[in-house]
Structures are given as structure tokens and as C-alpha cells.
Symmetry: C2
Subunit: 361 residues, 2 copies
């Protein structure tokens, strides 16, 4: 399959926000990428155009039946001036796994990555410079056919938008307080929990909102069958260090396979730290806490990279971890992974992809 | 709360499709209703405008996190010329239940119904005349804030669109073949299965697609915890008649509370037929089949009203019901309910709401 990507340059470039005002997902760059799908033509008409609203029929399936998938990754500006992506092939591979689950036609992963790199070339000045900042990349697919029958859409749009984002932690990483959710369920085996699809996030909003009211920043999700085994924390994967061993829930069909998660697993192996991917109950975590063997807990994801957990509220019992401070392992992993991502140290082969830079006039 | 609905008449009315070509959800009327929400202003600016595409930022939350709810109901043209709605108050009540689950601000139910009736007045000529046809009504709410952080949207649109639809059954009701889904799960208690939200429908597409490939028109969903108890069939509620008693799964938090379901329950009570709302396992249905006491099975929903089940495929065992023909009870209920909806017979108080008709010039 060969495509030629047309490029329409924006005539009026935006003023870029100052790095310290970035926050997360509030500003968008000058251009975006679109690829259309119709049953007759397949994926077609790849184009980079000025960032602009899209126009959809009110009966477009995305509005009614949520048929959609997305990805999230980042582009980094290294100190030596190189522009870097972190394992982008993994994102497009996962996008197609999500597509298959949501009955959305597969994308050409290689081409999607080429399109992203082309878009990043065009908007490369948007990759922010300050420590800890990056350009967040959001590829997504939405069902656009105008039809109210419940059936897979015959039309889609694959788009990529870019958003410069600030450092997730203003002053280095710091631990968060997590509420172990007793009632609401994020996903269950046989559902769509292992796909990166819109409905999973909508389903989690209520629990998140109620946890926030109680003074917690995220919820820890338990499995939907037994309400016993640990699944994810907020929209991150989660790791526990108990008595020298790092444990993370095994991928069981309801947990998203995080790219940060698998990178952390590889780093831990390099570090010769024992790792177990298995079922882990809250009872076991609580027992370890009481025994004094619960050493660390942290979430992993693209946005925060590593998010140490300082407190877990389980059945109104407060489990304080590392006296509420960041653990040594979480700090080391955060430092190592962000250093690889920013090109300060070299990671395993293929983890970092350089974005070609345009010559400036 | 008082609102004034502005009306912008379409300057170019569409040609209406012939009744026999309608199908389901393929054509839309000349106008639509929109109401905006912002955190500052609340719900505001109600307006009826020509049916047209809507323009949204590519970062609008509906595209990424699926925060949305919808409803489905119908307007009917009675033989005596009256224009009728069936229990519309129930739909707007349920819309708010869905809103609460999805962290969407509540609507004024009374005003939403007034807005619908006003829109139906404007587009009343679109209510088709032929036997079995109706005007399908789709109220829906979508999150429109442009922000990539996972949090409830600060902006929404509530819209109503209308679509003339054909008779669901070209030649009277006929039984369908249903595949009992062994692997995929639609919803689980603690999730969003009892809300009418987009993600539930996206989650069901794959199972539906695989069932269709096997020659079945819908799947029967089992509970996500034990994969044992009956939940819904496709996007309908489901009823079984076993040894003279009608059994339907009890509302357990993962099943949608269908308005057709509750209307059928009331009709059955009027008919002095014993009814049970309780857990019902596939084992029990299979046992009844073997004992010869499985008398009927049917789905209920707005689109089909009653959809008799002629065959269930469970673990590759074919359970044939009523020799694959429509059962007497299903036929009676279909006849009774559609007769009430079309104003041929009178139903319980408040079930039918008349739409005021404009005087023609």
C-alpha cells in the first residue's frame, strides 16, 4: 500500500503558549492529520491540514454508539536538539488491537507512523523546550457513518492531533492518594477493558468524581467479578513492591497493556529485580502492609510516566506507603525512563525514534 | 426554569422518502433541536434549526472519552389522524438516570419533553402514514469540551433528531435466531450497563458481528460474573414463558430498564398472567426446554416492540422454541402494545400523549 500525504500549510500560525502555562491537553498545534475510510475505498485521502473543527452529521455513529479507539504518546526535545519519540510502533500496534475489538478496520501501522512523523516535521516547533515538557500525541479513530442502526460503521476518520503539555509534576514526582473503589467497576473479562476505547473512560468518570470529593486523586479499580483483585489505578497500570519483589496484575483481558508498563517490566529485568505478573488481591496488599513488607506502590502511564502511591484507602482503612514519600524504586524508574525518553541516556534498541528536522529558512 | 425555544425554519424542505423505502435510521427530517450547556450558563439557548452537520473541535471529549447518553422513542400517526407519543416522560426520566451515571448535568425533563413536542409540531408531516411505520426520535447528549484530560466535560450539547422508520417486520412479526454469547460480556454490575450510553453499544458490536457470521441475528448476553444468568438479547430486554409463568431478568444494575419491558410487565399483570422478575440461568431455560415447559421467548424494545425468539444456540445445542414460530403470548402482546401506541385501543392512563397539530395554510 502506498499513499501520498497532501499538506495544506496553515496561513495563520498560532502564538505558542509559554511552557509554564501548558498544563495537559489544553492547547493544540497548527496542523492535524486525517485519513478517511469508506467501505468502497478503504482508508484513503491522507492529508495534513490546518487544525480546525470537524463537521459531522448529528446521526454520526460516534455520537450514539461510541465506536472509537485512541492512543497517547509523546514527542520529546532532547538537550542535544534531537526530536524523539518513545516506542511509537507499540502505539500503532495497540491501536490495531483496539480496532479489532471495536470492529473498526485495521490501519497500516507503518503508514500511520509515517504520517505521524510527517505531521511532527510540520509542527516541530511546537515541541516545547523546558525540562519535563513534551508534545502529547493523540491518534484516534471515530465512526462517522450517519445511520442509527446498531452495527459497525461503514465510514471512519483516523486523525492525529498534537498538544504541547507541561511537566506532569511541577516540582518533581510526588505521591498521590488513591481510593480503592468498592462499587463501580471499570471493565470485566469479555468486555473492552483491554482496548483503548472511549467508553472505558466514560465508565470511570463517576468513581473518579466521587473519589475526588473524598480527597483522593484517583481510584484503584478492582476486578468486576470478585471485587477482590487489583486491576488498574485511574487510567494507569499499577505496580507493588512487596518484600523485594515487584508485582503487577497479569493481563487478564480487562486490563490495558500499557507501553510504560511493559517498558518498566523490561527495565526491572535489566536491574535484576524479581518481578511477578499475576493476580494480586487487596487482601494480600493489606497483609503486606500489616507485616511491614509493603515497600512501594506506583502507577505507570504515558502522561505521568511513574506516579508513586503514598496512600491507599481501602474500606476506610488508610494504608500509608513509604510514609507518604516517593520510594527509591519509583524514583529510579522515573529517572531512568524519562532520561531514555529525553535522550539523556541510551535505552534498549528501538525504544527511541528520531524525528527528522526540517532545515530552517 | 423557563426557556423560550427559537425556531429557524428550513428554507429548503427535503423530499420525503416513500414509506416502503424507509428502513431504520437512514433518513432525517428537516429540523433538529439543540440545547447547549456550559459550566457558567448551565443549559441554555434552546433552538430548533434546519437539520445540519455539527462542527466540533477534534479534541471534543465525545471523540475520546465517550461521555454521552441517548434515548429512543417513537411518534405514531393514528388512523383517526391524531399524532401520538408513547410514554415519553419515561424516556426523559431515564435520560437523567443515564446522565447521573455518566457525570452529565441533569436536564429539565419537562422542558425536554416540551422541546420534543415543539420539534414534532414543526416536522409533523414527517410522521409516516403506512401500517407499522413511525417517526423514530433520538434525543442525545454529547460532551463537547475541547480538552484531553480525563474528567467530566464542562460543555455539552443536548440534541433531538427525528428519523421516519419502516415497519420493523416487513410481513408481520417473525421469530429470530439468537446465539447465546459464551465469551464477550456486555456489562457487569458496577459498570454502566443500566445507563443508555454509547460505550455499551460499541462493546457489543464484535459479538453481534460474530453471531451474524454464524447465521444468528442477535446475541443473548449472559452476566459478566458467572457467565450463567441471562441479561439481555442484543439491545433488547428478554422474556421467557416457562410452564405458564413469564420470567424476565431482574434489574440488577447491568441491565437497561426498558420502557417496553415495564409496559409489557404491566400488560401481563392486567392479563392475570403470572410474572417473575428474577435471576434466570441458561441452565434453567435448557432444563425447561428438555422438560417441554419452555413455551415462549421474546425480546422487547422500542424498535421491534416484541421480537419472538425461535431458536437459541447455547453451547452448540439448538433450543427450538414454538417450533420456530411466533408464540401466542408474543403475538398478543405485540398486537396489544402496537394498538395502544397507534391509538387503536386505549391503554393505561398517561401512556399515550397527543402531539398538537398545526393548522395547515
Amino acid at each position: 500500500m502506498t499513499y501520498s500525504i497532501s499538506i495544506e500549510q496553515s496561513k495563520q500560525l498560532k502564538t505558542k503558549p509559554a511552557d509554564e502555562t501548558l498544563g495537559f491537553g489544553k492547547y493544540y498545534t497548527d496542523h492535524m492529520f486525517i485519513l478517511d475510510y469508506t467501505a468502497e475505498q478503504g482508508w484513503h485521502s491522507p492529508r495534513i491540514i490546518p487544525y480546525q473543527p470537524i463537521s459531522l452529521d448529528p446521526a454520526a455513529k460516534i455520537f450514539h454508539y461510541g465506536q472509537s479507539v485512541f492512543e497517547g504518546l509523546k514527542a520529546y526535545r532532547a538537550e542535544d536538539g534531537r526530536l524523539l519519540l518513545f516506542r511509537p510502533d507499540r502505539n500503532f500496534k495497540r491501536l490495531n488491537i483496539s480496532n479489532a475489538r471495536l470492529s473498526i478496520p485495521a490501519l497500516d501501522e507503518q503508514f500511520a507512523l509515517e504520517a505521524l512523523i510527517k505531521l511532527l516535521e510540520v509542527d516541530q516547533d511546537w515541541i516545547p523546550h523546558s525540562e519535563g515538557t513534551s508534545l502529547y500525541i493523540r491518534p484516534f479513530v471515530i465512526a462517522t457513518e450517519s445511520a442509527l442502526g446498531v452495527a459497525p460503521s461503514l465510514e471512519y476518520k483516523f486523525m492525529i492531533i498534537l498538544s504541547p503539555v507541561g511537566s506532569y509534576y511541577a516540582e518533581g514526582i510526588h505521591p498521590v492518594k488513591i481510593y480503592v473503589e468498592p462499587g463501580y467497576v471499570r471493565a470485566v473479562t469479555g468486555g473492552v477493558g483491554n482496548a483503548k476505547t472511549a467508553g472505558n473512560y466514560a465508565a470511570g468518570l463517576k468513581a473518579q468524581e466521587e473519589a475526588t470529593e473524598k480527597g483522593y486523586s484517583q481510584v484503584l479499580w478492582l476486578d468486576g467479578v470478585h471485587k477482590k483483585f487489583i486491576e488498574e489505578v485511574g487510567s494507569m497500570n499499577v505496580f507493588f513492591k512487596i518484600n523485594g519483589t515487584v508485582i503487577t496484575p497479569v493481563l487478564n483481558g480487562s486490563i490495558l497493556e500499557g507501553i510504560t508498563r511493559s517498558s518498566i517490566l523490561e527495565l526491572l529485568e535489566h536491574m535484576n529485580i524479581p518481578v511477578e505478573q499475576r493476580q494480586l488481591s487487596m487482601e494480600e496488599v493489606y497483609q503486606a502492609y500489616q507485616d511491614g513488607t509493603l515497600e512501594e506502590a506506583f502507577g505507570t502511564g504515558t502522561a505521568a510516566v511513574i506516579s508513586p502511591i503514598g496512600e491507599l484507602n481501602w474500606r476506610d482503612e488508610k494504608i500509608i506507603i513509604q510514609e507518604g514519600r516517593t520510594g527509591e524504586l519509583a524514583a529510579t524508574l522515573y529517572h531512568t525512563l524519562t532520561s531514555i525518553q529525553h535522550g539523556r541516556i541510551e535505552g534498549p534498541a528501538g525504544w527511541v525514534v528520531e524525528i527528522p528536522q526540517l532545515k530552517k529558512a
